[in-house]
Symmetry: C3
Subunit: 252 residues, 3 copies
């Protein structure tokens, strides 16, 4: 399966036009950068983790991010409430099982959440390995997609997107993405935004990752290191047109 | 009523000289940027939301910010303690009812806080609309100022400052301010700092917003997008002299 | 005692090669910047403050940071758990008693933690003054080092490192370090990373601070103000070779 340039361009154009609201439950290291990534790309973030407020925020959001970083009792409760509201409303949601391979309580929660129907799961290879207990390779990702009925995204040098039947690879990006904190977390949040404007999760994920890779390449060409990469990446998310992102995305 | 260039320059000069301590209870997306805005402009931030510590921090602060973002049980208690200490000590405080239009528990708290005597309330039009239940236009802002006895600030393309009897408009700024997270939150924190060095809240708010708009214009002229706007804005807050800020501020 | 260029270069080379995991319990204003400082320099951060998860994270970390900022009940419990795990495993840990001079509950906790064997304590003069109750000068720092059996680091225009028997001064750096939030907090986190690759705490602290000062000088030469200083500082932490850092460090 191939997602073509027009699919990437179309999804980004709709994101810019509709400006979806993305409610993010995310970790403390990622919260500012994630909000700026969403704003730069064209979406509207909200970030509260207060369980009492989540019904209102999630009910008025177009997509939800559940990131398991800096998990604490308040976030646990917030996640439970938010996933319930999203499930009842049919709102798409993306699960980011950050560092599950290093925390048993977090891994246990991630496995419970798999059963609650995330639209997309996005992790790196060690995280997917932790989650599946059966490795993080393509076959394990495919199996996880089939068992969870979610689209599974493994990011790395080449990204891999699978729903268990169809699979897509996205190349490109820039090595400095690995030297800044919360790059993956913010990408999952943006992916949630794409789910709000593109019904097919495989297309949404591929379009998002192709766009992120294109922005990272542009930023990497200008940056002198990880510090200057951050503002350059946000600038590129803001500046890239749908046509440029579509033309630059390397999806196969 | 007009606030002239000399008033802006004078307030900023006193901020730089006295370096007021501003204690901030703010949301997780805003905390780092807010601290950097205060430091760049010349004030000294502290950011704890621990109720146990707030009496000491607020008692040794010159002004207080109460921002309702990422409201949680701990912040609720922190706000209650901090407002009590500020009220007893006569310390000025600024209320930022961020996203009250999207959360009923937050709106209820904002309305309770109105009765506890904030010096200034700062919001955008949807937030003031949510707060008043009667729209966010000039007349609604004036009415809110009269009923709450606070100075009300509505930020937008043109900012509006009113105490119900006097009204001021501040033009300028830059559209990229709307593409970065926490710009309004940080402006309210800085406004609290101006309250510490300028007794008249209408003058303090106008001077602060005129300064912020001048810095945003300078930053916007250099930035390639929202990412590079952030460091350029902080640089401008640090570099602008009181005279430059006064001359550039567009207050009527 | 003098730590020479080769010692600085050697410690940084080992940090880059071994990529130590540094678990950070730190304040909300510092969390993103601290993670980026560690990544830029070559270490791997984790940042959770969830007590339930800390045994797993600290047990798989090579060093621990305990920063007392935005102290709240959850962080209190997290600190207690983390220090216990680190102590049992012999993992080095650094204590940052940020703002202890402004909060009595925080000061009380800092004094309790002194008795639990931190490898290094890092503060500025007012913080060390608050901690010792006997001033923050060299003699007070020496006395604190002897009584606590920790290496004590006082940062300022010239940094001072002492274990009560040996003392080292590190000059250099840049004044803009005082105009950005969390610079000291992030330096203590990086110092924890150096403790993971250099057994002598005085050498580890001196090498870290010499490296930080070298990066700050390089950044300050390029920056237009505190905003552009932040990305330039991260770029410099990433770009400086061990040999450059060693040659530039001004340690006596």
């Amino acid at each position: 399966m191939t997602i073509d340039s027009a699919a990437v361009a179309g999804a980004l154009a709709r994101l810019r036009e509709r400006r979806p609201r993305v409610h993010c439950i995310t970790n403390s290291a990622a919260v500012n950068f994630t909000a700026n990534v969403l704003l730069s790309a064209g979406a509207i973030p909200s970030m509260t983790v207060n369980p009492e407020e989540l019904p209102d925020f999630v009910a008025s959001a177009d997509a939800l991010l559940v990131n398991l970083g800096t998990l604490d009792p308040l976030r646990r409760e917030a996640i439970d409430v938010a996933v319930g509201v999203a499930g009842a409303a049919g709102t798409p949601w993306a699960l980011d099982p950050v560092f599950v391979e290093r925390s048993r309580p977090r891994l246990a929660l991630a496995r419970q959440l798999l059963a609650r129907g995330p639209t997309v799961i996005r992790g790196n290879r060690p995280e997917l390995d932790g989650l599946t207990g059966a490795g993080g390779d393509d076959a394990a990702a495919d199996a996880l997609a089939r068992s969870s009925r979610a689209t599974v995204v493994r990011t790395g040098e080449v990204d891999y997107v699978t729903d268990g039947a169809r699979a897509v690879r996205i190349a490109g990006g820039h090595p400095l993405m690995a030297s800044i904190t919360a790059a993956g977390c913010a990408a999952t949040a943006l992916l949630a935004g794409f789910l709000a404007v593109e019904d097919d999760p495989v297309t949404a994920a591929s379009a998002c990752l192709g766009f992120v890779a294109a922005a990272a390449e542009r930023a990497g060409a200008q940056a002198a290191g990880p510090g200057s990469f951050v503002p350059a990446f946000l600038d590129a998310l803001h500046a890239l047109t749908p046509e440029e992102a579509g033309a630059q995305a390397r999806i196969s």
